[in-house]
C-alpha cells in the first residue's frame, strides 16, 4: 500500500496538568475521507492546531507526503500542500468573496512580491478564483464583502479558498457547523466527490454526514484515539458506544 499522505505518530501535548493529546497516531490515505469524531473537550482542536502548525507538539512526529513537518510554521505547511478550513470562519472581512479566493490563487502561484501589476483585472487570478466560486455555488455573491456574507456562505467561501490552493490533502474543521439540512446535504455531496482530488481529514459532529461520507473513522476521547475503523466497525464498537455514541448509532 502506498505511504499515507499524512501520518501522525505518538503525538503528545500537555498543558500544565492537562494531557490534551496523549499519544495520538493517525494516518490519512490517498483517496479517502477519514473522519475524526469525539465529544467536546476531547482535544480535537488541539490536534488540528498541531497538524497545521500553530501549536508545537511536545513529542511525536507529523509526516506529510513523507516529510517531517517539525519546525514548519502554518504558512510553510500550507505551501507544502495542506489546505484547511476553519471551524470559526476566518476570512479577510473587507475583501469581497472573489478577492478572498484570489488571494489563495495568488499564493498558489507564489507571486506575492509583485508590486506593479494591478490585481483587479488580472485574468490569471480572477479566472481560477471565479471557477472555484462556481464550484461551491457562490458565483453570484462574488463581489460581496466577506463580512456581509451569511454564515452558510462563509463556510462555502472557506471551502472555495481551500480548493484554490490545490492542496495535496484537505483538513476540514466542522464544515457542517451551523448549516441547515439543505446546506448539509449539499456539502455532503460536494465532499463525496472531492475525496478523489485529495484525501480529506474531516473533523465533524454531524453523525449523519460522518456515516455517509467516511471511509474510516477515528474516535478521540480525552486526547487518545480509542478506536479506528470503518463505519460499521465503529458503530458496533462497544467502547465507542459507551464513550460517545450512546445508543444513537
Amino acid at each position: 500500500m502506498a505511504e499515507p499522505i499524512l501520518q501522525l505518530s505518538e503525538i503528545r501535548k500537555t498543558f500544565g496538568a492537562l494531557k490534551a493529546t496523549d499519544g495520538v497516531s493517525l494516518d490519512l490515505r490517498k483517496g479517502e475521507i477519514h473522519a475524526l469524531i469525539g465529544p467536546n473537550g476531547a482535544g480535537k482542536s488541539t490536534l488540528i492546531h498541531q497538524i497545521c502548525g500553530s501549536i508545537r507538539p511536545d513529542s511525536g512526529t507529523i509526516r506529510f507526503l513523507g516529510e517531517d513537518m517539525a519546525g514548519l510554521d502554518m504558512a510553510a505547511r500550507v505551501r507544502k500542500g495542506l489546505g484547511r478550513s476553519f471551524q470559526i470562519s476566518s476570512l479577510a472581512p473587507e475583501f469581497s468573496a472573489l478577492r478572498n479566493v484570489m488571494l489563495a490563487v495568488q499564493a498558489r502561484q507564489g507571486s506575492s512580491y509583485r508590486f506593479f501589476r494591478p490585481v483587479a483585472g488580472d485574468r490569471s487570478l480572477t479566472g481560477p478564483a471565479m471557477a472555484m466560486l462556481e464550484r461551491v455555488g457562490l458565483e453570484k455573491r462574488a463581489k460581496v464583502p466577506a463580512a456581509e456574507l451569511s454564515h452558510g456562505e462563509r463556510r462555502q467561501l472557506e471551502i472555495a479558498i481551500a480548493l484554490a490552493l490545490e492542496p495535496k490533502a484537505f483538513l476540514f474543521d466542522e464544515p457542517m457547523a451551523g448549516l441547515g439540512p439543505e446546506g448539509s446535504k449539499r456539502l455532503t455531496g460536494f465532499l463525496d466527490g472531492l475525496r478523489h482530488e485529495a484525501p480529506i481529514l474531516l473533523v465533524e459532529h454531524d453523525m449523519d454526514a460522518v456515516f455517509a461520507l467516511a471511509d474510516r473513522i477515528s474516535v478521540l476521547v480525552y486526547g487518545r484515539i480509542i478506536a479506528t475503523g470503518t463505519v460499521a466497525e465503529i458503530r458496533s464498537d462497544p467502547e465507542v458506544r459507551r464513550a460517545y455514541l450512546g445508543d444513537a448509532a
Binding site: D73, M74, A75, A76, V78, R79, R84, F86, S90, L91, A92, P93, E94, F95, S96, L98, R99, N100, M102, L103, A104, Q106, A107, R108, S111, S112, Y113, R114, F115, F116, R117, P118, V119, A120, L125, K143, P145, I161, A164, L165
Partner: protein, 327 residues
Amino acid sequence: MMAGVSRETWISAVLVALLVAVPLAATAAGEPFYVTLATRIAILALAAVGLNIALGLGGLVSFGHAAFFGLGGYVAGIFATHAFNGAPLPFGFAATTAMPVIWLVAIALCGLVALPIGAISLRTAGVYFIMITLAFAQMIYYFAVSWPDYGGEDGLSIYVRNSFPGLNTAQPLPYFLLCLGLLAAGMVLFWCIQGSRFGAALEASRQNATRLAAVGITPFGIRLAAFVISAMMTGLAGALFADLNRFVSPSMLSWHMSGELIVLIILGGKGRLFGPLAGAMVYVLFEYALGGITERWQFFLGLILLGVVLFARGGLLGLLAGKTRHG
C-alpha cells in the same frame, strides 16, 4: 455617485489643483512665503504617504518613523556640511551637494536601518510593536543629540541648499516643483502597491493575518518589506525637508515628529491614496493660521485630533467622501 468617478476622486483632484495653483499664483504675485508653505505641505505629505504604506495598508502602527525622517534629513545635512568644508565622508567618499546622490544615499540608508529595526519589531505585535518602534527612534534621537560632530542638540545648518542639475534650487518655485514631482512619484508608487499582489497580501495581513498564513503566505516577510519601503519613502521626505529649511536637528527624530506623521495620516484618512495630502494640508494650514493668532495653537490641534479620533475616524476624506469599497 457619478458613473466611474467617485466623490473621493473629485475631492482629491480639487486638493491637487489647489496645491499646484496657489504657489504659481503666489510666485506671480511676488509672495514666496506661500510657495514655501506649499513645499512644506508636499514634503510632509510625502513622508506621510511613506508611513501610510506601513500603517494604512499594513496596519503597522509605527511610532518611530521619525527615525527615518530624521536620518534622511541628516544625510542631506551631513553631505552639505562636508561638501562645504571639503572634508571627506567616512570611508573616504567625497561629499557632494547633488540632490539625486543625496536622495539615493538617504533612501539606501533608511532601508538598511529599517531592515533590522523591522526584523526585531515585527516579532512583536500590538502595543509592543508601537513601543518598540518608539524605542528605536528614541535610540537614534539620543544618539544624534549626544554626537557632537554634527551639531548635537543645536542641529546642523545647511548654508546653501543642495543642487539639482538644471534647476535653481535656491529659488522657492523650482524647489517646490521638484518636491511636488517627488510627491507625485511617491503617490504613484503607493497606488501601484495598493493595487498589486503585494498590496493584496499586505491588506490581508492587516485584516486577518491568520487567513494570510492559511493560504500559505508568511505575514512576516510581507510586513517587513512594507516597513522597509515605507521607511525609504519617509527618509527621502526627510532629506527634502532638511533642504527646505536649510536646517536639520534632532527634533526631526523626536517622538513628537513620529506622532505628527501619524496625525497627518489620521487627519486626512488612513489607507487612502490622497489621505496624507489632505492631512498635510489641514495640518500645515492650521499651524499657520492658528499659529498666527496664538502660541497655544497646539492646544486646539489636540482638541481637533481628539475630536477626529473619537468622532470622525475616517479623517477628512472619510467625512467628505464616505467609506471606501474594496473590489
